[in-house]
Amino acid sequence: MLAIKDVHVHYMVGRRTLRAVDGVSLEIAAGETLGIVGESGCGKSTLAKAALGLVNPVQGTVSVDGQNPAGLSGSALLAFRRNVQMVFQDPYASLSPRRTILQSLLEPLEVHKIGKDRTERIARAEAILDAVGLDQSSLRRYPHEFSGGQRQRIGIARAIIADPKLVILDEPVSALDISVRAQVINLLADIQRARNVGYMFIGHDLALMRHVTDRVAVMYLGRVVELGTTTEIFDNPQHPYTRSLILSAPNPDPTKRSTTSALDGDPPSPLDIPTGCRFQARCAFKSERCLSADPALIQMSGGQQASCHNSEKLPNWTAD
């Protein structure tokens, strides 16, 4: 359904080129959740913008159900945008404080000319509010009258009201109180089951990603370095960076404390991409070849794809 093919998105910073996304290919099927993980600067937000048609790739294509936003304008572009919606991290910043919830929910319907009149649109807003577990009295209230968890439910309602095929979830529960996160995660799963919508789930909480995703793409400096099913990625990671990420994640069990930090240094700047393998400066398994040759994403025996010259030589993975 969503097909991203060899996408490159570059930004100009002064006279230098920032290669935010540098050759990424991904697909998301209807009803599927693809997780995107990686440190800040790895290009995951830029990839989301490309999927939304908000930035144009300098190379490669993005298409949803065969439609590519790059060649579209006017009403055709509008129709494309109806198919891809987004839920933001901070639900307060993404709802207009001056509009009632009803006004915020009606806007996508009016823009996309869904429903034959206002009565029908209001009925649709009432139905969607019910689907996200809020009562009808919410329609006439303003965002400040709701808690963070309720506001995120409204953000989800607005994203799905125009029946998109793909929803991009950018850290949808990171800003919520811990006691309401599970509710919102369960709600997203219910919506996906009921509507067969595809999710691109951007996140950094690996335990959560393991629970909510079907497949995972691990990104580093603008590239996907490992791509596979959630089980393949977490049970038998084949890229040293994926392993470092999993080992860095804190474990909610005080009897299993990690004694060493898994990865030294900060993520390098995408303005200054190293030669050879992008990860070599921080990699514990690098060899001579990694300094000069950029590894391609290739099929591993475990089932997933990974880009590492030395994946055959990595020690066997044990989760603890």
Partner: protein
């Protein structure tokens, strides 16, 4: 030997013509030298206000209504707080960019604190700053000291804040979600650094967080707060193995790590209360699966376990939940 930080029956709120409005209600906690205490709570639980009270930095009209705070035996009062802040107790905030001045080099900012609190002058204060940066494992500290905050990464800036506390020889470090804004890889480095400082310098650390996994990785003891009250206070192993309060139990059950693959997460209904919605008795009762009418009464404090591994739980129904 007195605890480095001792908070007894702390109540925070404001007073107007209608009387007292209590936001933080009866907080007790203590931290020994070389100990890391985790303070877990959601927004509005009172965890940050309790720490701001230690520094005498409560935003008006909030004030300490009653109770006491001591740092190594010396009372913290409105008159003494300013003299102790930065020197005996230092704080590290979530976003170091808002704590650092963008127009001075980080070395100069650490040196300024050293001059103020340690009485060192000129060159000696800058040497102390570079030395502190080295201790928090900033690579090439001489060069980094001459850089401005915007030239450093988020993790490096957070190390600078910790270096400032170290250079001033603060007895207690109050860390308010210092790793929430960082990447998970950099978070792991900062947690390791804090553990090392605790071991080598005997620093007492209060680590405020909402992330239970970070608590499990880092802390020795834990205080769980909700709706302005301390719900549970125990050592970290007991908290994760045998949580005493229904709120703590529900939080642990809702973690994705404990979920059955393919099944929904075990969620807690409702929302955390705002300070105006708490009502009487237990602030969690509306969301609690074992609440009864008894929960309208003021919270008891019940001790479970032995005296060495004591577990204090503020719940009327603790006998119901202790069995599961």
């Amino acid at each position: 030997m007195p605890a480095v930080l001792e908070i007894e029956n702390l109540r925070i709120g404001w007073i107007d013509s209608t009387g007292e409005h209590v936001i933080v209600d009866g907080v007790n906690m203590s931290i020994q030298a070389g100990e890391i205490l985790g303070i877990v709570g959601e927004s509005g639980s009172g965890k940050t206000l309790s720490m701001l009270a230690v520094l005498g930095l409560l935003p008006a009209p909030l004030t300490v209504l009653s109770g006491s705070i001591h740092i190594s035996g010396s009372p913290v009062t409105p008159a003494t707080a300013a003299g102790m802040r930065g020197k005996r107790a230092a704080m590290v905030f979530q976003d170091p960019m808002t704590s650092l001045n963008p127009v001075f080099t980080v070395g100069a900012q650490i040196a300024e604190a050293v001059m103020l609190h340690q009485g060192l002058k000129g060159r000696a204060s800058m040497d102390a700053a570079v030395d502190a940066l080295r201790k928090v494992q900033v690579p090439d500290p001489e060069r980094r000291a001459k850089q401005y905050p915007h030239e450093l990464s988020g993790g490096m800036r957070q190390r600078v804040m910790i270096a400032m506390a170290l250079a001033c020889k603060s007895e207690v470090l109050l860390a308010d979600e210092p790793t929430t804004a960082l990447d998970v890889t950099v978070q792991a480095q900062i947690l390791q650094l804090l553990r090392q400082l605790q071991r080598e310098n005997g620093m007492a650390i209060a680590f405020i967080t909402h992330d239970l996994a970070v608590v499990a990785e880092l802390c020795d003891r834990v205080v769980v707060m909700y709706g302005g009250k301390v719900f549970e206070s125990t050592d970290v192993e007991t908290l994760f193995a045998k949580p005493g309060h229904p709120y703590t139990q529900a939080l642990l059950e809702s973690l994705p790590d404990r979920a059955v693959p393919g099944e929904p997460l075990i969620s807690i209904p409702g929302q955390p209360p705002t300070s105006g919605q708490r009502g009487t008795g237990c602030p969690f009762k509306a969301r609690c699966r074992v609440a009864t009418t008894a929960c309208d009464a003021p919270l008891p404090l019940i001790q479970l376990g032995t005296s060495e591994k004591s577990q204090l739980v503020a719940c009327h129904r603790v006998s119901e939940v202790a069995v599961c």
